[in-house]
Symmetry: C3
Subunit: 625 residues, 3 copies
């Protein structure tokens, strides 16, 4: 695994660049990511390019031995460009323009902007595509950051109508698939379909799901334009994009299919603070991050990247080096965490960990975001940890792939469906996947996170936490595996257009599960059914069928059903319930279960085994037994 | 009392209709409500009507012996209609259009849409008005659902100005009545009056009250157009509308005056979850509904319907049969609740309970809303309960009218006033009425809920929980009754245009109360005055006058005053305070008081007495002693 | 000190005016504030003035011996004026117009409205400027009330561009100062700078700070137009404006520089309820107000007014006399509070306390706001308290100036910066100042609140709670004083354009502090470091330098550093931590420290010493020892 850093030469005087490059190399870094926000410096006026500074920067970095990952600057089109086509701006769900003044101020469906993005990509790739120092490309930056995938502009509406026409062929097919007869929502042509925002009450969930799919496809299409240009003009370089944490605005399986390497930006403390964790968790892990945040995304994005056929290639393109500026509260990491997070990435198979950023910039929006260096050029606390881990990597560079234990099946449309129709607060497919992942990791197991169409070979335990739409052959593939299987609520509960299947949920999984879901209900916090050390919370389904009750509450409510190798979790998969089910299934699978303490996690690779002590910031590495 | 069901033949293949009709009849249902969302199927293109399917549906239902309640489909105008006059769309208070894509996408003040609504009503009534199977009509559906009574469109603004001109005659009269001299808000003509939204800080409360009255009047006017057409074209059929729970967007007394039967849609679990109940109540009654929710609305709407002179005719046009889809959490009812809720309606004098809906529809917005049948056509849990209660109704069909015990006086403008000017959080006239109702019901008493101008004869206890505007003769009518009277805070505190009366509150009730309110204050949660088993919370008034202090706090604060038969509750009527006052007044009235356990309620009819055990889902019925 | 009252003759029939005037005088009042909302009565039609009524009102008040403070009515332009130039309306940050129907419906940047405001000011001043009864003027009313300083209109945008051009000279200078290279935000001309609202994610903090400065300047400019007219047409009269509580929308130092007397409107109970106090404080002080609310503002505004050179002249132009109408909950003050608040103003050097209002108006927005008289003309509870304190003032009229103990340094841009970039919830410079003030007052000390450029002579203790931008000479002035100094977090952490200084925080204060801040982090509630009776909460900085650790947590975290006479509080200044630091510094300063009970406060003037018992509504006055 390599180490790298994100660097913005345009922020600093030119005389600092050579020294910066030298210090990077001395620190043990071999990669540097640059350029992704520099459009206004590359093309200060329409059509007038200023390459000098970037030539210099690239040369200096290259001369120091660093491989350069160059970003296309399309996340930050300059003001003159926006002024030339003001309707390139996205509209939010309330109909308000999302204008210039920060970043990501564009609508993915705007043809004119897509052409401009292609133009600047071509210009940059023309100039540097075959530069020896350039080893990779990053397209744009964090697609979807600041909730920018969905746009409610005229451009989006028109593109949505074309997308629908292509998907459904006829308006009658759409009306039928969506059930538009309900509430007289039937359209007579695709031109009668509006965007699903600003309706009186919620729009048809099928309408929303189509819009989510469309919006995701627009991102993939936008990205592909750049990928095609870069492949043509910069042969042999890896093309990447940097995904985010707990973010599902587009389908990362689809995006990754066009990339060589899927990157992601890892901010464990910020994510802990801003996402669904309980207040207790936010306090307990305030300085370390919840111990599964980084690992979950490593495994998720490795799975997304695996869509191209091989073992997925992935990297950490940004890594938190200290306090950030964007969470509600922004504490400093415990000493040791920057090293620990780096080794967690190593243990999961990253190709690169790139710290964000080299030196804290004293101005503008991210002035409170730490770097490896302080604004005064002195070392920030992370610097020494990187120095240490860079040395350690010499010994641990090849831990080998993770030993196959358990797999989780997750899809992006699953999360879209539970967002569109939660039916009860907190019922999110992504969160079900995270809590299932946590339960498996607490048992000391390795976990792969797979797309629904990924091969299932070699796993002794497969968990499908919440997968409303299942591929036709998933049931067969699960049946023909020898694995223990856990299927969670809502799985198989919808067809591709958000309709309940004819034979009731779990639809195509019914034979496997040995039952059908005849009633679903949701429970407010505090309303639960008591079990033996676990509870039924949040969601509860009643089943009819041949499966046997395995976990039964004091009041007779059945929390978990069993049909041979297959368990069905009829309540929300969280807390002690999913821990209990996972524990039983793992034991039945003959997996090496070992309930770890709260802050400890393990990763078993072929050659090395890592033990992470999150609450102490410590890591121990040993040869795998 | 009859049983019925809501049915959407347009959702199902035609071959299912005869069998559905037969099963309904066999189940013991004799009414079926249809058609209210079917405009796009009745008139798929402008001016082209497709009656075939509806002819068939009506005939099949009629042939099975069911009486049909036909809905006018005006809550869901089709897309082609909206596209022909886009300004029929309402604007919300933020100025955003509330467009097509769900339902209720129209502004009540739009002349063009009112004409279109008349046209489709005439078309449907022309075709089926004299059909033998059609026994009743429902106009539109749930006026005001999704907060749709108020619109801030140009059509609404223009209509509001005309309405004001009619009400006030001259702009000087309006300026004077509203006190527009305050903050230089004086207008020189009605054209200078804007809608009260989007002001810098709150608009004049008199302005808001006028707008609330206007908005209510627009609903009544819109409905009357349909009523007039239906009366002319479908003689002898009952005309109804379905009101909602805890909803006060328009004056139901006014609407009911134009109807034969006032219907309402009863969703006890959804209402519990979504309204002002405490978290403790939401947990305790999660599966049964708070035991006064359904009964309160039965008594409220019977009172609204009584405005036409006779004992009010009312029905439950929708009844929750299982989990719904629209609350924050959607649990399943306890076994027995569907039967219990049905019998509660019987005990209160409903003509009909119609379950919503026959079969769960697997698509679109309400796919998670239970029916009597599951989407796969099998029985849902409610089915057997309906079967049982249908049989029981043979024996209990005629419980007789409720014995007269206590009355609550409530008006819709009272609630508008407390919404416009709460002065302290949670001070709602509707909620004061509900908590007073609960206190009376806990004593085992029957309660009627009356309009301020309704006759007061026969009640031994009359409660006026919070009635800012009182009719001129109410004081006299209360004085000349022999009843015990409880008057609550803010009563008589405003004239018809939201001004404090010259002689201070309680205005025309001052002699009755024996005092005047010289100070009002509101108290944050936790700030209270201790009494003997009760507390002063939320609201407190100081009185001057001849009345005697009856309930005095430890610190000397007077919570309740007494002037002969009349008590004045000077604090917010809730909790143990209103329970204590009601208990004393009921005892003084010689009523059969009997404090019931938390989940038990009683309804004493002339022939039968019902005891409801909400927390157990049970009902016992006995001959009235 | 004089007493006065706010009076609205236009609300009452003319025959009441003489009697009202007489009662005011008899009560002991000598000032009456009128006219500030009466534009629609002064100029009922464009260009047609109706002076008769106001002539009468002024004459009657003057005849009763009252000195009149006349308000310019520019906070409430009439509807006809708005209709003539609809674009005078401000737009809110969401782009919505903030229209007619309440008050303050104008954009400070609209040239046309500023001319109209000048025109009406000239008209009123022409007529009454030399009237013997008129002793003072109030410009407009509560600039910024209802969040009205910032407008996002076209007028504001254009004016902002001009303001920027003047401030920065060249667009390159602006780009450099703001760091616009970050995210390609560079502009090519001032016409490319937009307002900072409706951006995709947060705009550049430098952009926001400039907009806050600009918006403040627009208020000052608007006010100055009126001041210039009044000075010319009404020589010798005091010109005032009434500021508000906990309000920082514009720079009061700048505004006060143009005024003779800075007034403010004191509503201790409303402010307690609506601002950052904890729920515990809101309960404990619900009926008295937190004991530092009024005093803090007295001292703050006296400091603002001192900018003109002399000891600052200031007044309470509105004083709460009972429950108000605008807080979330509106309790009545304890008996004695109206007198206590009056004496607190006396003790702090007010020239005038003017109660708001004479008689409760039974109509419109403030009908629930108490007055000295009830709507029925009888005395409200405050009346007798005013009567008492008016008599007492005969004896205590001349308490003398406050003895100099401690000073707090506060600036409005400091608060703007912490609002723009809190970095952690609750980190507000204003609140840091308030909590520091509270800590000093709890020690029985007098506190002056100073602008950063105010003279520091005579204080034995100077606290700089949170001052990101420091004047160049502040460090020198602090160093050359003999005072104990406490400097709080973020002080010196930014240059004038929101950039971190080259040498790191505390920038120019580094030598004084004896260290530099190398890391800042924020802590969620519950995440703290334990000290000995105090905790580190909310914010924490790490220092490097020569200073010595003075307060060290159990875990080694340093909460407070000391460098000779200078202490640096490296955590958020609140609770027991700031109390401890203040206690030590005050002791070192030889100040008479004396930790007072929770509800007691003291003010030591040259001749009289006041002890206030907030929780009992009592005051004792004695000769200063
Ligand atoms: Zn981001
Ligand atoms: Zn509804
Ligand atoms: Zn105000």
């Amino acid at each position: 695994m390599r180490l790298g850093v994100c660097y913005y030469p345009e922020h600093w005087p030119q005389h600092m660049w050579p020294r910066d490059a030298k210090r990077m190399a001395e620190l043990g870094l071999s990669r540097v990511r640059i350029g992704e926000f520099a459009w206004s410096r590359i093309e200060p006026e329409p059509g007038r390019f200023d390459w000098d500074w970037l030539d210099q920067a690239i040369d200096k970095l290259h001369e120091a031995g660093l491989g350069i990952i160059l970003g296309t600057p399309t996340a930050t089109p300059p003001k003159w460009l926006v002024d030339r086509m003001p309707d390139m701006i996205a509209l939010d769900a309330q109909g308000r323009p999302r204008g210039f003044g920060s970043r990501r101020h564009y609508c993915f469906s705007h043809d004119g902007y897509r052409e401009e993005a292609a133009r600047i990509t071509r210009a940059v790739a023309d100039r540097y595509g075959r530069h020896k120092g350039v080893v990779g490309w990053q397209t744009d930056n964090e697609y979807g950051c600041h909730d920018t995938v969905q746009s409610f502009s005229t451009a989006a509406r028109d593109a949505f109508r074309s997308w629908l026409a292509e998907r459904y062929g006829s308006i009658d097919a759409l009306n039928e698939a969506w059930g538009n007869v309900f509430w007289s929502m039937e359209a007579r042509s695709f031109e009668e379909i509006e965007l699903p925002n600003l309706t009186v009450t919620e729009a048809n969930p099928a309408h929303w799901l189509a819009f989510r799919r469309f919006s995701s496809d627009q991102v993939v299409r936008f990205n592909r334009v750049q990928v095609d240009i870069l492949r043509a003009l910069s042969p042999g370089r890896d093309i990447m994009h940097n995904a985010m944490g707990f973010y599902t605005g587009y389908d990362h399986h689809d995006l990754a299919a066009d990339l060589d390497v899927l990157g992601w930006d890892s901010y464990p403390l910020g994510f802990l603070e801003m996402f669904r964790f309980s207040d207790e968790e936010k306090l307990a892990f305030a300085r370390s991050g919840h111990p599964d945040i980084a690992a979950f995304h490593h495994d998720l994005y490795r799975g997304c990247a695996a869509g191209r056929g091989a073992e997925g290639r992935w990297s950490v393109l940004e890594q938190q080096p200290g306090p950030v500026n964007w969470a509600r509260h922004n504490p400093a990491p415990l000493p040791g965490m920057v090293r620990l997070w780096t080794l967690e990435a190593l243990a999961h198979g990253a190709e690169l960990v790139s710290y964000f950023r080299w030196r804290q910039f004293p101005k503008a929006q991210e002035q409170m975001h730490a770097g490896l260096l302080r604004p005064d050029d002195a070392s920030a606390p992370a610097f020494a940890e990187v120095e240490q881990v860079a040395t350690e990597l010499d010994a641990w560079a090849e831990p080998g792939p993770g030993v196959k234990h358990a797999a989780i099946v997750f899809s992006y449309p699953a999360e879209w469906m539970t967002q569109i129709q939660p039916q009860g607060e907190g019922c999110s497919a992504l969160w079900a996947a995270f809590r299932s992942y946590e339960a498996l990791r607490r048992q000391g197991l390795n976990v792969d996170i797979l797309a629904p169409d990924a091969p299932l070979d070699g796993y002794r335990l497969i968990v499908v936490p919440c997968l409303p739409i299942v591929p036709d052959d998933l049931a067969d593939r699960l049946a023909s595996s020898a694995s223990q299987v856990i299927i969670g609520p809502r799985s198989g509960s919808r067809d591709a257009d958000f309709a309940i299947p004819e034979g009731l949920p779990p639809g195509p999984l019914a034979d496997l599960v040995g039952g059908r879901v005849v009633l679903s209900e949701t429970l407010r916090p505090g309303l639960f059914h008591n079990g033996a050390g676990w509870n039924v919370t949040r969601w509860l389904e009643r089943l009819e069928g041949d499966a046997e009750a395995e976990l039964v509450c004091d009041d007779g409510t059945i929390a978990c059903w069993r049909n041979g190798r297959v368990r069905y979790c009829a309540a929300w998969p969280e807390g002690q319930l999913i821990q209990t089910i996972v524990g039983r299934a793992a034991a039945d699978a003959g997996l090496p279960v070992d309930l770890l303490p709260e802050g400890r996690r393990r990763r078993t690779c072929e050659r090395l085994t890592f033990e992470f002590e999150y609450l102490a910031g410590g890591v121990s590495v040993s040869a795998t037994a």
